[in-house]
Symmetry: C2
Subunit: 418 residues, 2 copies
Amino acid sequence: MTEISRVKGTKDYILEEMEKINYIIEKVKETFERFGFRQMDTPALESWDILSKKGVGGSDILEETFRFKDKSNNEIGLRYDLTVPLARVIALNKNLPLPFKRYQIAKVWRYGDVSKGRLREFYQADIDIVGSSSLLADAEVLACASEALKRLHIDFLIRINSRRILFSMMKSARIEKEKMLEVIRAIDKLEKIGEDSVKDELKKIKIEEKSIDKIFDFIKMDFDSIALEGREEIENLIDYLDGFGIKNFKIDLSLARGLDYYTSVIFEIIAKKEGKLGSIAGGGRYDNLIELFAGKKIPATGISLGIDRIAEIIDRFPKKSLIYVALTSDKVLKKGFEIIKMLRDNGINVDFDLMKRKLAKQLEYANSLKIEFVIIVGEEDLKNNEVTLRNMVTGEEKKIKIENLIEELKQILSNKLI
Amino acid sequence: MTEISRVKGTKDYILEEMEKINYIIEKVKETFERFGFRQMDTPALESWDILSKKGVGGSDILEETFRFKDKSNNEIGLRYDLTVPLARVIALNKNLPLPFKRYQIAKVWRYGDVSKGRLREFYQADIDIVGSSSLLADAEVLACASEALKRLHIDFLIRINSRRILFSMMKSARIEKEKMLEVIRAIDKLEKIGEDSVKDELKKIKIEEKSIDKIFDFIKMDFDSIALEGREEIENLIDYLDGFGIKNFKIDLSLARGLDYYTSVIFEIIAKKEGKLGSIAGGGRYDNLIELFAGKKIPATGISLGIDRIAEIIDRFPKKSLIYVALTSDKVLKKGFEIIKMLRDNGINVDFDLMKRKLAKQLEYANSLKIEFVIIVGEEDLKNNEVTLRNMVTGEEKKIKIENLIEELKQILSNKLI
């Protein structure tokens, strides 16, 4: 017999887990719209030519990209991020008013190491501003991401650096231009694999020992003590962040980011989970990426929130209410259906028995769904134009006139909202 | 240079088109929750073993399925529907309380003929009830789908048939059991390819001329005039639909549905688009599918709404409001940021200039985004604690005290809601 299993590294989101993801997505979406970002959606499938173009993602990410040929022998890849598809869309839609502020919440695919708990299909929520080279755009992106996280009650810190500073630093460490992106990709792994392994990687790509030492001296330095090209843009960004009232950030010269396309300021948001700090968002400015597709320089900046990472650090979230209507016999079916329809028409989420089970079984089922309130429709009650409302947690029961049911339920449910 | 293009048969949803999809998804989602369905999400990637199992989708759909090997040589497919993944989830989660009512709104992939306007990646919105064999479950599914379409102001008709009737009919037409599913797949194409082509297909799989004639006589018959096995379940369903107040359905003996897994009642919802009737939803009961994965018989029924098809027939939909704040000089930046933050904190969607452009350019930009209301923050106005509200459609302007701004905007925006 066939083994019934999920594809490795993928996930089914069901019940509470799905509700949590949904809660996060709804909050994030609402915040993105509050900041004037407009939703966009692109296909999971992108042509391999787009994803693999030089200067786009780089070799590390391509190594992890799902790739195949379709029936017409076209080379296809599953998107590894939402930024590259955005750049393609900008290239194909020359008449979009700029700046274009877009958000996209969708899955991306990366063939990562599952033994390290990495998912191969996961959610990202991206905001990007295309067409403005002002650091004000970067500040707006960070302000929006911060607001979304605040509304999710997450305690976080923004790390900020600039690729321009890293490039200047590498220049002064006499690293050849051709190797700079490789060095950046190695530094990006610092927190995952540690200093010694990063040094090994750098040796492998033939960076001299002296240069390696210089790099490590540098990335441990304090921002205030450096005077390199790229300083100004960070100072500029800090000013705007101040204007937006954002204080929980630090400049961290060891921040590198893994993707090739970043050009200047880069950021990462970290949050505490079980005592350890982990990355929940990352992004930065990519002023050259769109040009690769559009043939014309269009500056852009953005950030990507890892929805699954955020879900890992959220413990409690408000549940959506669901009322269960128990129909005690076939004789109350007609009136029961009317009551169900009335409740639903008035915006109340309602489930009921689809198996013609006995009342006790129905209450058991409602319990297994963790439903808090059950309305029992019984023959006797109906004679008085009443139903019984049962609180499944306390066991309390109360008769309610059908004409007052909507009002009473709305009252009860609004008290339940967090 | 690389050609910059989308993968054939895929779509970017941007601006108004995305807003329409989003509007449909939000309405549909809300309705699904109203009926007690709980959201679920599964990976796009499913193992080929699951998708291709005998009795699951059948050869026609597998012909259209994206299939490839991952880096570890595992055979993977992109899901062609949301029902098969649900069946796998049920098999892997034996402790789910039954009946399990779930909804899922997500993309599916089918390598269809793009010359016929078919998309290869598109949205489906599915509701299914797992674990109840009562026709009440089928009625609940249809009631929920109907309510969603009603709330989208779509004029529709539900076609209903039963696979059991089709099987009885084929039996009396002396069609071998092994060929029955092939015959059903041929009949399913009736509206797409016409009677002659269906007859040709039936001849190709060696169905005798006499049997073919019998089939066509039969599927044109009136439901009331037939007396075959499967009649009763349809009558039962009609009773429940009556209880739910659903009247816009007809029994249509030519309805077949293309997927192998359906076992008894099947349905399709059609709606008018540019004078022509087209299918916007389809589903039915599949009492044997889950057993293929779970090793235990678990009845189920469901329906799938084609979100892209629905989008094609919706012309008008309410737009979300967006306010633009124009900052006239660097001197108003600080106060301007405060106003922007105040509006956003009060639930109003706000965009502003990220390019430090002149006022005229800012208004031009707001116009290109089809924004209706702009708040102009000017030095002179600020001295009186005022801003100017400009209606971009009429050109009218009005001074508003900052302390009254929220209230006035909420008033204006609530009048705009449809």
